[in-house]
C-alpha cells in the first residue's frame, strides 16, 4: 500500500473549469447567432459555416502533425471557435475557396506560427477576416439580403450593409432624414433582419450568448460593457453636436459587427488584458478606435481593425495596469 501513495505539492484539489469546457462553452454561446444566420441566410450560411470550421480543424491538425510534430489537440475546441467566428464574419455568398484561404491565414499564420493555443498575440479569426477583406474587397462587402435567398446559392440579391448605406449617403451629401428611411428599423436590426455578415446581424442572439458566457464565468462583463459604453457615449456626443451629420448612438450599437466584436472577439482571453482595469482600458480603446474608423475612416466598419490594434497594445496594458497587491499602499493601518 505504502508504495502506491502519490506525493505531490498542494493544492490537492482542482476546480471544475478546464480548457475544453471553456472552449466548448464559447461554441455553445455562439449557437444562437449561428442559428439566426441560418434562418436569414439559408443554405449558403450552413455551407460556408461548415467549410470554415472543417478547414480550420484540418489545417490545425496538419500543422501540428507534420510541421510542429506535436500530438494534435484539435479536440480542445479552439479551432472550432476560430472557424465558427470566421464564418460569422463573412457574407453568406462568399466563394468557398476564399473561406479556405481565410482559414489558412487564421489558423496557419495567426495562431500556429506563434505556438498554438494561448500563444497568439492577435485574434486568429480577426486576422483571417481582415486578410480576406483586404484581398477580396468586393466579395467580402456584398451582402445578400436576409430571407430572400434561403435556398439559392449564387447570384443572390445583394445589398450594402446599414453602415455602408449611412457612410455612402453622407459622402454623397444626402440628408440624415433621407438616409434613415433607407436603413432597417431598429427592431429589425436588433433581432437580425438586415444585410450583413452571417453572425453579426442579430444583436439579440449575440447578447444571449454573451450572458451565457458571463454566467458560465468564461468572460467577465468588463470588456463588452466598456467597449459598448464607449461607442455609445462617443457617438452620442457626436449626435448631440450635430444630428444632421452624425447618426444616433443606438444605430451604432446595433449596426455592423460591434456586438459580435465586443462580446466574442474583444473578449478572447488569449488576446485581451489580464487585470480588470486593463480590460476596461482595452474596451475603451476598442470603442474609441471603432468610432474613429466608422465616422472618419475609409472603411464603413472599424470593429476588426480596432480590436486588432488594441490586441497589439495588450502587453503594454498588462505591464502598466497590474492588479492592486494586498497591503501595497497602506502603511501602519
Amino acid at each position: 500500500m505504502t508504495n502506491t501513495l502519490t506525493v505531490s505539492g498542494s493544492p490537492h484539489l482542482h476546480g471544475d473549469q478546464n480548457v475544453k469546457k471553456i472552449m466548448w462553452g464559447v461554441v455553445m454561446a455562439l449557437i444562437p447567432a449561428t442559428l439566426v444566420s441560418f434562418w436569414y441566410f439559408g443554405i449558403g450560411a450552413i455551407i460556408i459555416t461548415s467549410v470554415a470550421i472543417v478547414s480550420c480543424i484540418i489545417i490545425e491538425y496538419l500543422i501540428q502533425k507534420f510541421i510542429l510534430k506535436q500530438s494534435p489537440s484539435i479536440n480542445d475546441g479552439s479551432a472550432v471557435i476560430t472557424g465558427l467566428l470566421l464564418a460569422l464574419n463573412v457574407p453568406s455568398n462568399l466563394p468557398l475557396w476564399m473561406m479556405v484561404i481565410g482559414a489558412i491565414v487564421a489558423i496557419g499564420v495567426a495562431k500556429m506560427t506563434f505556438g498554438g493555443l494561448g500563444k497568439n498575440p492577435f485574434n486568429p479569426a480577426l486576422v483571417g477576416r481582415v486578410f480576406m477583406l483586404i484581398s477580396f474587397p468586393v466579395d467580402m462587402t456584398s451582402w445578400p439580403l436576409p430571407s430572400v435567398n434561403r435556398t439559392v446559392l449564387v447570384d443572390a440579391v445583394t445589398g450594402p450593409t446599414t453602415l455602408g448605406v449611412v457612410k455612402e449617403g453622407l459622402a454623397k451629401g444626402d440628408s440624415m432624414n433621407d438616409i434613415i428611411t433607407k436603413i432597417p428599423s431598429y427592431m429589425d436590426m436588433f433581432i437580425g433582419n438586415m444585410g450583413g455578415s452571417l453572425g453579426e446581424v442579430s444583436a439579440l442572439a449575440i447578447i444571449l450568448g454573451g450572458i451565457y458566457m458571463i454566467f458560465r464565468k468564461i468572460i467577465t462583463w468588463h470588456i463588452p460593457v466598456s467597449y459598448l459604453l464607449t461607442v455609445f457615449i462617443f457617438t452620442g456626443i457626436l449626435y448631440l453636436i450635430n444630428p444632421n451629420l452624425y447618426i444616433d448612438p443606438v444605430f451604432h450599437l446595433l449596426a455592423g459587427g460591434l456586438m459580435l466584436g465586443a462580446i466574442f472577439m474583444a473578449t478572447d482571453m488569449v488576446t485581451s488584458p489580464m487585470s480588470k482595469t486593463g480590460m476596461l482600458i482595452f474596451g475603451l480603446g476598442c470603442g474609441l478606435l471603432t468610432v474613429l474608423i466608422r465616422v472618419w475612416g475609409a472603411y464603413p466598419e472599424g470593429v476588426s481593425f480596432a480590436i486588432l490594434i488594441m490586441n497589439a497594445v495588450v502587453p503594454l496594458i498588462n505591464k502598466g495596469f497590474k492588479p492592486k497587491k494586498f497591503g501595497e499602499v497602506i502603511n501602519n493601518g
Binding site: 501513495l5 490537492h12 482571453m269
Partner: protein, 442 residues
C-alpha cells in the same frame, strides 16, 4: 456578511465529519515523537535510552528563540533516539517511547472541571505557555509564546481568533468550538490578558451555524469577546485575509499582523493555552480530523502526539483499497505523506484520504491567459507571471512581481483551467528569492 475583498475561491466544503463528536483514541504501543515539530529550530532531547518518563514530562528543550519544548505524550521507557520519517517525508530525529500504562505527572489536572478564574500575571502566562510547548495549531506551528511577546514600540489593540477552518473536509476546530466552548472562552481571555487587550473577535464561517450560535450564547458570559460570522470563502483562514475580513485593516506587504495592532491565534491554540495555564497540561495531544469520501467513518479523534497515523486510519474504518493519496492537513494546503507510519505531530489538523482517481493531477495545457489566477489570488498577485518568471529562472523579476507576498494558498493552481502547476513554480521561485534576500542582508 463580512469577508475579505480580493480574490478567493469556493472549493466544495465536504465537511463529512462535522457531526462526529471528538473521540479519544487508544494509546499506541510505541510513540514516535519527532524533534522538529515547530516552525524554527528543532528541539534538543534531554532524555536518554532506557529512561522512564511520565505523561507531561519534558523530554526535549527549546533550542533557540524560535523553538519549543516537547513533552512525553505517553508514559513508558525511552526505546531509542533515532531517525524516523515524519510528515515532511524526510527522515529526521525522533524520540521513540515504548508505552507502559498511562501515568501522568502529579501536577497536571486531568479533570474536566472548568477553571475560569485567571490567577496569573501577563509574564506568568507567557512563561506557562512557553513551558507547555505550545505552537500555532492551525498548521503553521509558530511557537505561541513568541507570537505573544509584543515587540517594543508596538501595541496590540485586539486579538483575533481563527475559527474559520476554511480548508475543505477539516472539522477539528469546528468540533472543539462546539464541545469545548467554555474552555475556549477562558483560553481566549488568558491570551487577551497576556497581550493586554480588552477586545477579541472569533471569526467563524457561516457554514458552521451551530458553532456561531453556541459561542454567541457563551460570549454573553465573557467580557470583550465578539463572534464574527463570515461568508464562506477560501482562504479566509489566512492571517492577513482574516484580519481584513474582521476589522478591515490591511497588513502591509512583508509585515506581521502586529503592524495593524492585531494578534491572530487559532481556536485549537486557544484551547491548548487554557489547558496549559489553568490545568498545567503541556501540549501532548490534539484533535485530528480523519476524513475522506472513501473513508467509512469520517471522525474527529483526540490523539496523543506520536501516535502513528495508521492507528487513526484504522479507527475511521480500515484504509480503503482505492486509496491514492493521504494528506496531512486539508486538501488545499496540506502535505501528501509517503508513509502510514508517520506520527501525529503538533501541527497535524487532519488526515485526508483521497481515492486513486482524485489523487492525480489534471493534464497540462498551454496558458490561455484567461486571467482566472489573477482574479482569485487573495494577495492581488499575478500568479501566471510569477510562474513564468520561475520557469525561466528570473528571480529578480519574480521578486518585483511580489513572489514573497504569496501565502501559498493554492487558489491559482486550483482554478487554472489549463491545469498548470502555478503554485509549484511559485514555491520554487519563493525559495530561491528568499535565499537571495537573506544573502543580501548578510
Amino acid at each position: 456578511m463580512k469577508t475579505f475583498k480580493i480574490g478567493g475561491v469556493h472549493p466544495k466544503e465536504n465537511k463529512l465529519s462535522e457531526k462526529s463528536p471528538i473521540k479519544v483514541l487508544a494509546l499506541p504501543k510505541t510513540a514516535i515523537i519527532p524533534l522538529s515539530q515547530n516552525l524554527g529550530a528543532p528541539s534538543n532531547p534531554i532524555v536518554n535510552k532506557g529512561d522512564k518518563v511520565k505523561v507531561g514530562q519534558l523530554i526535549a528543550e527549546s533550542s533557540s528563540f524560535i523553538s519549543s519544548h516537547i513533552h512525553a505524550p505517553v508514559s513508558g521507557t525511552i526505546a531509542k533516539i533515532d531517525e524516523a520519517i515524519d510528515s515532511s517525508g524526510y527522515k529526521r530525529k525522533a524520540i521513540f517511547i515504548d508505552v507502559e500504562g498511562d501515568e501522568w505527572l502529579e501536577n497536571i489536572d486531568k479533570s474536566n472541571h472548568l477553571i475560569s478564574d485567571i490567577r496569573f500575571s501577563k509574564e506568568e502566562i507567557i512563561a506557562k505557555i512557553k513551558d507547555a510547548g505550545i505552537v500555532g495549531l492551525g498548521g503553521a506551528t509558530f511557537p505561541t509564546h513568541v507570537k505573544l511577546m509584543i515587540p517594543k514600540g508596538k501595541k496590540a489593540e485586539c486579538l483575533i481568533i481563527n475559527g474559520v477552518e476554511c480548508e475543505p473536509y477539516l472539522t477539528s476546530d469546528h468540533r472543539l468550538m462546539i464541545e469545548k466552548g467554555d474552555e475556549l472562552m477562558v483560553g481566549i481571555q488568558i491570551i487577551m490578558k497576556s497581550i493586554e487587550v480588552t477586545k477579541a473577535y472569533i471569526g467563524i464561517e457561516n457554514n458552521k451555524p451551530d458553532a456561531i450560535e453556541h459561542l454567541t450564547n457563551l460570549s454573553k458570559k465573557y467580557n470583550g469577546i465578539e463572534i464574527c460570522p463570515l461568508k464562506v470563502k477560501y482562504p479566509q483562514g489566512g492571517e492577513k485575509q482574516l484580519i481584513k475580513a474582521i476589522i478591515g485593516r490591511e497588513v502591509p506587504s512583508g509585515k506581521l499582523p502586529i503592524e495593524v495592532g492585531c494578534v491572530v491565534q487559532n481556536v485549537g491554540t486557544a484551547y491548548a493555552v487554557y489547558e496549559a495555564v489553568q490545568k498545567n497540561k503541556p501540549l501532548i495531544e490534539r484533535v485530528v480530523t480523519v476524513t475522506g469520501k472513501s473513508v467509512k467513518n469520517p471522525t474527529n479523534l483526540l490523539t496523543r502526539i506520536g501516535t502513528p497515523v495508521s492507528l487513526l486510519l484504522d479507527e475511521a474504518g480500515s484504509l480503503p483499497d482505492n486509496t491514492g493519496k493521504i494528506i496531512n492537513g486539508g486538501p488545499m494546503m496540506g502535505k501528501a505523506v509517503n508513509s502510514l507510519e508517520i506520527p501525529v505531530v503538533k501541527g497535524m489538523s487532519g488526515l485526508l484520504v483521497m481515492p486513486e482517481k482524485e489523487s492525480k493531477r489534471v493534464p497540462i495545457y498551454n496558458c490561455i491567459r484567461c486571467a482566472k489566477c489573477v482574479s482569485v489570488c487573495p494577495m492581488g498577485l499575478s500568479p501566471y507571471l510569477i510562474a513564468q518568471t520561475s520557469e525561466i529562472n528570473k528571480e529578480e523579476m519574480a521578486e518585483s512581481h511580489g513572489v514573497m507576498d504569496c501565502i501559498e494558498c493554492g487558489s491559482c493552481s486550483f482554478t487554472c483551467p489549463s491545469g498548470r502547476p502555478l503554485l509549484d513554480n511559485i514555491r520554487i521561485s519563493k525559495n530561491k528569492v528568499g535565499q537571495i534576500i537573506r544573502a543580501r542582508l548578510k
